[in-house]
């Protein structure tokens, strides 16, 4: 069905594939830096949770997916949206609350979705995407065209009971489902160790689900693990679980400085992870292998910056949605609006 089906289980992405992932990562980074600035400048109606630092996970996983594969995402969903093929301008316009946004401004940052790309939505309910992805995987299985579904979720979300329900059903029914747990060491402001007992990566094991823990800041490691999991799923061998160890370089949400009185992580910790930024790492690798020119990253970067700048202009120039968008998306009729 899908050219990605021809992906074979190899350990390394081709240079072209790696370059494409780098591009995705830079696009996520620059788009989010922009949104972070806009948020702090008070230009955005709602909050944003940035993915900065975790880009390798979305890029490495989604490299294996086509438009008719499905993903579900989290409150921290910009990266997944973009990696799955969503357009920066539709994302930016959405977060600006404009009718040209991916969801006509009804979703905002936390619910951004692009069903035409198989991106079934970021989700404001922690764990909310797990069963939805399993349902998409059930649909994929019934359709029999080799589609897969991937569920992205955080380490904190792994405490939601629905995850174990989905482990059980996905394993029983051999659903083409890939669990990607992005362990960024924090659940909001709680260090994972204080809210997560024992070993996260081992939890799927009793259900018979293969599981692995990888360096989520290494896009090649992510790509390899995801390739194996996706290929298993496409072959009808059932679900797999990947724990991607990573770190968010920004706050839980951009507005947090406004209400947080005590630090919940040290500057040293943040700095040490900043040194492991996944973007320079992959650029360096391509450079070393001779697949990127000395100024290659800069070139990618300027192209992306241009796109982002254009997207911001587009968003700013766009109109806000009117009530007809709500009516079209819901059950209410004009007659029901206002008081009665």
């Amino acid at each position: 069905m899908n050219e990605v089906l021809t992906d074979r289980l190899v350990n390394e992405p081709s240079p072209a594939q790696l370059l494409a992932m780098l591009n995705v990562m830079v696009t996520i980074r620059r788009t989010e830096e922009q949104l972070g600035m806009d948020s702090k400048a008070g230009k955005l109606p709602g909050n944003v949770h940035l993915y900065i630092g975790q880009e390798a996970v979305a890029a490495g996983v989604c490299a294996h997916l086509g438009d008719d594969d499905f993903i579900t995402s989290t409150h921290r969903g910009h990266g997944h949206f973009l990696a799955k093929g969503g357009k920066p301008r539709e994302l930016i316009a959405e977060v600006h609350g404009k009718r040209t946004g991916a969801c006509h401004g009804l979703a905002g940052s936390m619910h951004v979705a692009d069903l035409s790309k198989g991106m079934l939505g970021a989700n404001g309910i922690v764990g909310g995407g797990m069963a939805i992805a399993a349902g998409a995987a059930l649909s994929a299985q019934l359709q029999g065209r080799g589609q897969v579904a991937v569920v992205f979720f955080g380490d904190g979300a792994a405490s939601e009971g629905v995850l174990s329900e989905v482990f059980n059903i996905a394993a029983l029914w051999k659903l083409p489902l890939v669990f990607v747990c992005e362990n960024n060491l924090y659940s909001e402001f709680s260090p994972s160790a204080t809210v997560t007992a024992g070993s996260l990566v081992d939890r799927p094991r009793p259900y018979g689900i293969p599981t692995t823990s990888i360096d989520g800041n290494d896009v090649v490691a992510v790509w390899a693990a995801a390739g194996e999991a996706v290929s298993r799923a496409r072959q009808g061998l059932g679900p797999s679980f990947i724990e991607a160890r990573t770190y968010r370089l920004r706050g839980h949400l951009e507005a947090e400085a406004g209400f947080i009185q005590t630090k919940y992580r040290t500057d040293e910790e943040v700095a040490s992870w900043a040194k492991r930024d996944p973007i320079p790492a992959v650029a360096a690798r391509l450079l070393a292998q001779g697949y990127l020119a000395e100024d290659g990253l800069a070139q990618i970067d300027s192209a992306v910056m241009l796109e982002v700048a254009e997207a911001v202009r587009f968003a700013e120039a766009s109109e806000v949605p009117d009530m007809s968008y709500v009516e079209a998306a819901g059950f209410i009729r004009s007659a029901e609006l206002g008081s009665r």
Binding site: A107, S139, L142
Partner: protein, 329 residues
């Protein structure tokens, strides 16, 4: 037309729609054996791929229905007793009810959640709720409550062809009720009430299992010279306000009968709609015959005392006529 049981009518709706749409799937706990009989035979007919017994995992079941529906496979998600909707409530309240809005209209969610409602057989508090008020308030799920086999079949078939999430609630005590079911592709539209009995003196709006109480009460009332009109909304979301108002415009009086608990009940809402849009028609107070604000106890006498029945409907109607007489000096 042939007489059929309500359960059989539901069974036929499943079969006809699964025949019609090969993407439609059904799953739930023990649907293969079928606790209520409504899903009997489906596993044999449609196979283990389209009819699946599931683990006891309501949160996953409701959420998966949303996901599969969004991905292109309509789902009948069988929840057995309506109290088990609470265990799987998040995906109904936060996902199914909201995703179409949140995605700016992109998401179509043809998921039908089926569950049995109501008391009357000492199943006690955790197997006897009538939770449509909760669902009505969610703002994004349709709610259908049939009172006859024909409506059960027709409403369910409509739900299974729709593109919006629907909760289809089966009045449990009515499973064995017999009724005429039209042959052929019988569909009942959503948002269209039906008048089961025409009358000029009082409108009784009744839902689900209480329709038969209302009809019983109407017979008693006729003997007392009061002609009651019995209106059954059939779907609570959408609600056919106009049909109710039309009836009250004629009768000037309203009693709403509802097996849900009183506070924020469907009865409350219907009363409120009429107290607003139909105020000028009203000649007497709008009464509600509902369940007091408690869960149902096990002891049969107490359960019976708490549930609506024909006598309570008669009492409510008599009370407003009493009121009216007191008024007219």
């Amino acid at each position: 037309m042939a007489k059929k049981r309500l359960t059989q009518a539901i069974n036929e709706a499943y079969i006809e729609e699964m025949d019609r749409n090969s993407r439609l799937v059904l799953y739930g706990e023990d649907v293969e054996l079928s606790i209520f009989g409504d899903t009997r035979g489906l596993h044999g007919r449609f196979g283990a791929s389209r009819v699946r017994n599931t683990p006891i995992s309501e949160a996953a079941l409701t959420g998966m229905a949303v996901g599969a529906a969004m991905a292109g496979n309509p789902v009948i998600c069988h929840m057995m007793f309506s109290n088990f909707l609470y265990t799987g409530f998040d995906a109904i309240a936060n996902q199914a009810a909201k995703l179409r809005l949140m995605t700016g209209g992109q998401a179509r969610i043809p998921a039908t959640f089926v569950a049995a409602i109501g008391g009357g057989t000492s199943t006690a508090a955790q197997h006897s709720d009538t939770p449509y008020p909760l669902l009505m308030n969610l703002g994004g799920v349709q709610v259908a409550v049939p009172s006859t086999p024909a409506d059960a079949k027709g409403l369910l078939k409509t739900a299974l062809r729709g593109e919006n999430p629907t909760v289809f609630l089966i009045p449990r005590l009515r499973g064995a009720t017999m009724g005429e079911v039209p042959e052929g592709d019988h569909l009942v539209p959503f948002g269209k009430a039906v008048v089961h009995r025409v009358g000029s003196d009082v409108t009784i709006v009744a839902i689900g299992a209480t329709v038969s109480h209302a009809l019983g009460a109407a017979e008693t009332l006729r003997a007392r010279g009061i002609e009651a009109e019995v209106v059954d909304p059939r779907t609570l979301v959408p609600l056919d306000e106009d049909a109710i108002l039309e009836s009250v415009a004629k009768t000037g009086r309203l009693v709403v009968v509802d097996e849900s608990r009183d506070r924020c009940s469907a009865a409350s809402h219907i009363a409120a709609v009429v107290a607003d849009r139909g105020f000028h028609f009203l000649k007497s107070p709008v009464r509600r015959v509902t369940v007091p604000d408690t869960s149902l106890p096990y002891a049969p006498g107490l359960e019976k005392a708490l549930l609506p029945d024909a006598a309570k409907v008669v009492a409510a109607v008599s009370a407003i006529f009493g009121d009216a007489q007191l008024e007219a000096p």
